[in-house]
């Protein structure tokens, strides 16, 4: 067990995979000499040289496409897109190419491509730099999406993604890079897409992912002081979603709250709620609730920005309402 920051865990994962497999190489804007905007590739250019750590021009669609082409030839590219906002320029490579080639080639080509990017709302970066686009990518069959919330998961899920023969997108969170946590580099990791219970509780189940797991845990702490025990599930993966732990939890608590940073309308939460009601309708005492971002582009002004994304207070309020909601189950 070592204590590491989230970015250090990612850095370590890259380093180990590069050391073990010559087919692994990195590319992206400022990943080399600069070491990555969030330091994730720090030191790797010096260690592995420019063919394995490639600084690119600002040409997202084509360098992500380069990753696709190189993966067709059996390499294992790890593309860094500086932030998810710029991935919008690479959607052709991600959606039309990476997600389709293994399928439309009748399985002749695998796609050992990993695309990492920071996502989410940071602090006052404005509407074009504060997006959460997981729903856009979730709706694409053929892509898999990981959302590590801890350094431990960042480390293992990135290593697992690099080894996968499917295209995998790793959504890191802008505000998690400097969070610290224990990383067990010798342990047996959880399965890549497994969801886990981060905190048990009997009264309701809160399903969260990425940075919202921290918000959920802080809310659970506060609710516990009021006698409400909230179970917190960390999805860890948004495509596929590991439903079993969610269903089992709802089977115990009979109430579910989905917490997401993304906008509410047609977000990841909509999928989660729809599937849960299909699969655990008869366990539910109350309608499933969502606490999500407001359906607005992110405003720049500090208080407004804060008002558009869920926080501990709003999560507690939703949880209390859900627990206290009276009347017969619908």
């Amino acid at each position: 067990m070592t204590e590491m920051l989230y970015w250090q865990a990612l850095n370590r994962a890259l380093d180990e995979e590069m050391a073990q497999d010559e087919k692994v190489f990195l590319l992206g804007e400022d990943v080399g000499l600069y070491g990555g905007t969030y330091r994730v590739s720090e030191g790797l250019l010096a260690k592995y040289g420019e063919w394995r750590v490639r600084d690119t021009p600002i040409s997202e669609n084509s360098f992500t496409g380069l990753g696709v082409g190189a993966a067709m030839l059996g390499l294992r590219p790890v593309v860094e897109i500086m932030t998810i906002n710029f991935a919008l320029l690479a959607l052709d490579a991600l959606i039309n190419m990476a997600a389709k080639i293994p399928f439309m080639s009748g399985g002749q080509f695998s796609m050992g491509l990993t695309v990492r990017m920071p996502s989410g709302v940071a602090k006052q970066l404005g509407a074009q730099h504060s997006q959460r686009l997981e729903h856009t990518l979730m709706n694409v069959p053929g892509l898999r999406i990981l959302v590590p919330a801890t350094p431990q998961d960042a480390y293992w899920q990135l290593r697992q993604a690099i080894r996968s023969d499917d295209p995998i997108i790793v959504l890191e969170h802008e505000l998690l890079y400097f969070h610290k946590g224990e990383v067990a580099t010798n342990a047996t990791p959880l399965p890549i897409h497994a969801a886990v219970v981060r905190r048990p509780g009997r009264d309701l189940t809160c399903i969260a992912y990425s940075r919202m797991v921290e918000v959920a845990l802080a809310a659970a702490e506060e609710l516990a002081r009021e006698g409400i025990e909230m179970e917190v599930i960390d999805l860890r993966s948004l495509s596929p979603i590991d439903w079993e732990p969610c269903i089992q939890s709802v089977g115990r608590t009979h109430r579910a709250l989905v917490l997401e940073e993304d906008c509410r309308f047609a977000g990841a939460g909509a999928e989660i709620v729809a599937t849960l009601q299909e699969r655990c309708f008869y366990f539910l005492d109350r309608p499933i609730q969502r606490t999500a971002g407001l359906d607005l582009p992110t405003p720049f002004a500090a208080e407004l920005e804060a008002a558009t994304i869920p926080n501990v207070e709003r999560t507690c309020r939703s949880a209390r309402d859900l627990v206290k909601m009276s009347g017969a189950p619908l």
Partner: protein
């Protein structure tokens, strides 16, 4: 060609420098958050180009746009207020540093996704040509932006349809930490425009008079119906990419060389208060030139500097005193742009 008033250009450059230094101080004091991309070192570009813009022209810029906004005539107070996220900000506190918009002054915005200024300018140029107006569109972008597909796509269409666009490349040789030789196979950016048959020139972007002259000629050609024109202005940013970037990838000798370009005699009085920006930069050079040519003496210069300091002081105080925007209001504005009318349906008027 009308003659330029060098003192006016100097004044604009000094205002530009003062605006950004004030912003840097506010950032350091923790009152401005988010990304803050500053312009010191590149003032001759904005001052030279924008001094040739007519009120009817349109400006499209990037996230490094505070100075473009100021020299377009947007009051410093409205810029500061936006950087501080206030209601009186030029974008109502909704945009922030990277998204200054002013419809009235035809400032079509600062865009934070590299390469977006090309298609926006293309569309504006199309609309102007469509209406057969004598206006021009000035499109700013960096050296890093020319490797985005939109650059090539837009230059091709602009040339194909002879759209009235002045493409202005602010070549400061860096794309964040990546120096131009490591991001571009062809480092003379103007040559790329030639590939699309767009008249293009490379100009010393540290020399405001040269920039002014080239811009004036290019805009005259655009107004004469010659179609798009392209200027590559070689310049340098003295600070890091943004306030979050220490800029450690650049050798100190390189930074100093640009700050010393053309040896000059020191003028009295410290103009620049911040450490990254010592004597000998483009603003200083021009200041020296103005004095040498007899346009300015030290008293007048002092007066100019005092006036500008006062302008910035008042503007900042005004911005600081302004209220924060309110969420309900914001939602209303947003809804206003999303009226769900049923244009041809039964509900339509």
């Amino acid at each position: 060609m009308h003659s330029v008033d060098p003192v006016f250009l100097l004044r604009q450059m000094l205002r530009a420098r003062a605006l950004e230094e004030t912003a840097a101080q506010e950032y350091a004091a923790g009152r401005i958050a988010g990304f803050l991309h500053l312009y010191p070192g590149e003032e001759a570009v904005a001052a030279g180009v924008l001094s040739c813009a007519e009120p009817g022209d349109y400006i499209v810029s990037t996230y490094r746009e505070h100075v473009h906004a100021l020299l377009r005539g947007i009051p410093a107070a409205a810029i500061f207020a936006e950087l501080l996220g206030k209601k009186t900000g030029v974008s109502g506190g909704m945009g922030g540093s990277m998204h200054l918009f002013d419809a009235e002054r035809r400032f079509l915005g600062g865009y934070a996704i590299v390469g977006e200024t090309f298609p926006i300018a293309l569309g504006a140029g199309y609309a102007v040509a469509y209406r057969q107006l004598p206006e021009a569109v000035i499109c700013f972008f960096g050296d890093g932006a020319v490797n985005q597909g939109t650059f090539h796509e837009s230059l091709n269409m602009a040339a194909l349809w002879r759209l009235p666009i002045l493409f202005v490349c602010e070549n400061n040789h860096y794309q964040i930490g990546t120096e131009i030789h490591r991001h571009s196979a062809v480092v003379e950016v103007y040559r790329r425009a030639c590939a699309y048959n767009i008249p293009a020139e490379r100009i010393n972007g540290m020399d405001v008079l040269a920039v002014q002259q080239a811009s004036e000629q290019a805009l005259a050609r655009i107004r004469a119906g010659d179609g798009p024109q392209f200027l590559e202005l070689e310049t340098y940013r003295y600070r890091g990419h943004s306030m979050a970037d220490p800029g450690a990838y650049r050798p100190a000798s390189e930074v100093q060389a640009y700050q010393r370009q053309d040896p000059i005699k020191e003028l009295e009085g410290e103009l620049s208060t911040q450490a990254n920006c010592p004597a000998g930069d483009c603003v200083r050079q021009f200041q020296e030139q103005c004095c040498a040519a007899g346009h300015l003496n030290s008293e007048r210069l002092q007066r100019l500097q005092d006036e500008i300091a006062e302008e910035m002081r008042i503007a900042l105080a005004e911005a600081q005193a302004a209220a924060a925007p309110n969420l309900t209001k914001v939602q209303e504005v947003f809804q206003k742009n999303h009226r769900f009318e049923d244009f041809f349906g039964r509900g339509a008027a």
